[in-house]
C-alpha cells in the first residue's frame, strides 16, 4: 500500500486576477507533486515561477483556483495539522520583541506547554547560534539574524514537516553550513523537508529529489543524482597518450580527458590500453544543477515529470 505523502499537490492551479476579474495571471497550472515522508525535496524555479504560491497554498494562506492538496494527511488549510509543520517565509517579518520572547510566542501559538517551551526555545536558539542574542530585540537584528530567528520559530515545535522558502538567502557562508547541517540532521531524525531555494549548490548538497517549476508548471522532477547524471555518457581521464587519438579529447597537465557514450566505454578503455596509456578515472558524466536549471527553464515545452 502506498504511504501517505507528507505533502501533496493534486492538479493544483492558482490564478490571480485584477479588479473585476481582468488581467488574469496563472501563477500555477495543473501542478502535481508528492513530497514523500522523510525526504528533502528541493523546489527550484526562476523568479515568478510559482514556488511561493505553491508554498502558500500548502500552508492554507490562499485557496487553489482548482485542484486540491494535502498536508500531513489533511486538506490544505487545516489549522490543527499546522502544529506538526514548521514554516519559514521568504521574507521573515516578526514582531519587535526579544528573540527569546518571540520564539516562545510562536511556540505557544502551536499549543506548546510552558514547561517544554522554555527548554525548547533555548535549544532552537542555540541550534541557530543565537543563544547570546536571545535577550536582544529582533528589531535591532541584521537580515541574516532575523532569518535565523525565523528558522528558530519554525523549528520550535519540533515539526514533522519543514517548509522553508529561501532559508539561507540572507546568511553568511558559515551560517549556511550550519543550516545545511541542521537540515541533514533533521532528515536523519525522520523529518520531511520541502526546500525552496535559488542556491543550487545548496540544493545539490542536501536534497534527495529536485522539482523544477517554470511558469507555474512542473518541468522536471527526479532524484538529485538522476538529474545530475548527464544521461548515458562516461567521462574518462587517461595519461600517457596524445589527445589526437580521441574525438573532442582535452589535454590538461599531461592527462587527457574525453567522454564517450556509455555503450562505447569498454572499447574506449581498451583503446587507451592498446596505445600504452594509463586509465586514471572513469566516471559517469555529471552536469551541475545550474546547467540543468538553465536548460529546463529555457525549454518550457517539456512535459511535467519528464526526468
Amino acid at each position: 500500500m502506498r504511504m501517505d505523502a507528507a505533502l501533496e499537490f493534486v492538479d493544483a492551479s492558482k490564478q490571480y486576477s485584477g479588479l473585476f476579474g481582468r488581467r488574469r495571471f496563472h501563477a500555477l497550472e495543473g501542478f502535481n507533486l508528492r513530497v514523500e515522508t522523510g525526504e528533502i525535496l528541493g523546489f527550484l524555479g526562476p523568479n515568478g515561477a510559482g514556488k511561493t504560491t505553491a508554498i502558500h497554498l500548502a500552508m492554507g494562506f490562499m485557496r487553489p483556483t482548482s485542484g486540491r492538496g494535502q498536508l500531513l494527511g489533511k486538506p490544505f488549510g487545516d489549522a490543527g495539522t499546522r502544529d506538526r509543520v514548521g514554516f519559514l517565509p521568504e521574507n521573515v517579518a516578526l514582531y519587535p520583541r526579544r528573540a527569546e520572547q518571540l520564539v516562545r510566542f510562536y511556540g505557544a501559538l502551536n499549543g506548546m506547554k510552558a514547561a517544554t517551551l522554555g527548554r525548547r526555545t533555548a535549544q532552537v536558539l542555540e541550534m541557530v547560534n543565537l543563544q547570546d542574542d536571545a535577550k536582544r530585540n529582533v528589531s535591532k537584528f541584521s537580515r541574516g539574524m532575523l532569518q535565523r530567528v525565523g528558522l528558530a520559530q519554525a523549528l520550535v515545535n519540533d515539526p514533522e514537516l519543514l517548509i522553508l522558502d529561501e532559508p539561507t538567502s540572507a546568511l553568511d557562508p558559515l551560517a549556511r553550513v550550519a543550516v545545511r547541517d541542521l537540515l541533514l540532521k533533521a532528515r536523519a531524525a525522520g523529518k520531511t523537508i520541502f526546500l525552496s531555494s535559488h542556491l543550487l549548490s545548496e540544493v545539490e548538497l542536501v536534497c534527495d529529489r529536485v522539482a523544477v517549476l517554470h511558469r507555474g508548471r512542473l518541468v522536471r522532477l527526479g532524484t538529485t543524482s538522476e538529474l545530475l547524471q548527464a544521461g548515458q555518457r562516461i567521462q574518462i581521464v587517461a595519461r600517457g597518450i596524445a589527445a589526437a587519438n580521441f574525438t573532442d579529447a582535452v589535454a590538461r597537465n599531461g592527462d587527457i580527458s574525453f567522454s564517450v557514450p556509455a555503450g562505447q566505454q569498454r572499447m574506449a578503455l581498451e583503446r587507451v590500453w592498446q596505445l600504452n596509456g594509463e586509465v586514471i578515472s572513469v566516471n559517469p558524466e555529471r552536469h551541475s544543477l545550474e546547467e540543468i536549471f538553465l536548460q529546463v527553464t529555457a525549454d518550457t515545452s517539456k512535459p511535467a515529470g519528464a526526468a
Binding site: 494562506f61 490562499m62 502544529d83 517579518a93 501559538l109
Partner: protein
C-alpha cells in the same frame, strides 16, 4: 482559547502607543479634578468626562480597521497563521484585543470619573454603567470595522463602519423612531453616555448592551466567514 488570548495580548502590546495617547485624555480629566472645585464646576467636569469618554469609540474603529491590514502589509500574519491557529481564532484574538485596549481606557476613565464626578455628587454606579456601555459600543464598532477590513483598505473600512453605525441613527433621528437606533446600537450606547446628567440621571438600560454583545458575535462570525476566503498572502498595497 490560548492562541486567542496570545493574539489579543500581542495586539494590545502592538497598540501600546495609541493606548497611551488615549490615556493622556484621562490624565486631563484627572488634572481638572485636582485643579477645580468639583462641587461648583460639576457640570463642566461631566461635560469633559462625556467628551473624553466617546473618543474611545473613534479609536476602536481605528483599531478594527487597521489590525488585519497592518499584519498583512508587514507579512507578520504569515508567521502567525502558519501555526496551529485558525483564521477564526485569529479574528477572535483581534476582537478581544480591541476590546481589551478600549477596556483599559474605560477602566482608567471609570476610576478617574468615579473620583472626580463622585466628589461632585454623581452616582459612582452610574459612572461604571456608562463605562460598560462604552466597552460594549467599542467591541461592536471594532468588530464591524474588522469585518470591513477583511476585504477593504483601512480608510474605506473605517468609512463603511461609520456609515453602518451612523445610518440607523440618522434614520432614527429623521423619523423620530427610537427603534432604528437599536439596529446597530453603537449610537444608542454613545447617546446613553452623552445624555448622562446630574439633574436627571438616566436609568440603566441594559437592552442596548445585551443587543450590542449579540451583534458583536454576529459580526465576528460574518468576519470569520468572509476572512476564510481571503488570500492573505496577496499584497495589500
Amino acid at each position: 482559547m490560548k492562541p486567542v488570548l496570545l493574539i489579543a495580548i500581542n495586539f494590545v502590546r502592538e497598540q501600546r502607543w495609541p493606548i497611551l495617547v488615549l490615556l493622556l485624555w484621562v490624565l486631563l480629566l484627572a488634572f481638572l479634578g485636582l485643579a477645580t472645585d468639583a462641587a461648583r464646576q460639576s457640570e463642566d467636569l461631566l461635560f469633559v468626562f462625556k467628551q473624553v469618554a466617546v473618543y474611545v469609540l473613534a479609536f476602536s474603529v481605528f483599531f478594527g480597521s487597521s489590525a488585519i491590514f497592518n499584519d498583512r502589509r508587514s507579512r507578520r500574519i504569515l508567521s502567525v497563521l502558519s501555526k496551529s491557529v485558525s483564521r477564526q481564532q485569529y479574528l477572535s484574538g483581534l476582537v478581544l484585543g480591541i476590546t481589551i485596549a478600549c477596556g483599559i481606557y474605560c477602566f482608567a476613565l471609570g476610576i478617574t470619573g468615579s473620583w472626580t464626578l463622585g466628589e461632585a455628587g454623581f452616582p459612582i454606579a452610574q459612572v461604571w454603567f456608562l463605562m460598560l456601555c462604552l466597552i460594549a459600543a467599542c467591541a461592536l464598532a471594532g468588530t464591524v470595522a474588522l469585518m470591513f477590513s477583511t476585504f477593504l483598505n483601512p480608510f474605506f473600512a473605517a468609512g463603511a463602519t461609520a456609515a453602518v453605525m451612523g445610518l440607523p441613527a440618522m434614520v432614527s433621528y429623521v423619523t423620530g423612531s427610537l427603534q432604528w437606533g437599536y439596529v446597530i446600537p453603537v449610537y444608542a450606547l454613545a447617546a446613553t453616555v452623552l445624555k448622562a446628567s446630574f439633574g436627571a440621571p438616566s436609568g440603566l438600560p441594559w437592552f442596548p448592551i445585551v443587543w450590542a454583545v449579540a451583534e458583536t458575535l454576529a459580526f465576528w462570525l460574518l468576519s470569520a466567514r468572509i476572512f476564510s476566503y481571503v488570500d492573505i498572502a496577496v499584497s495589500v498595497e
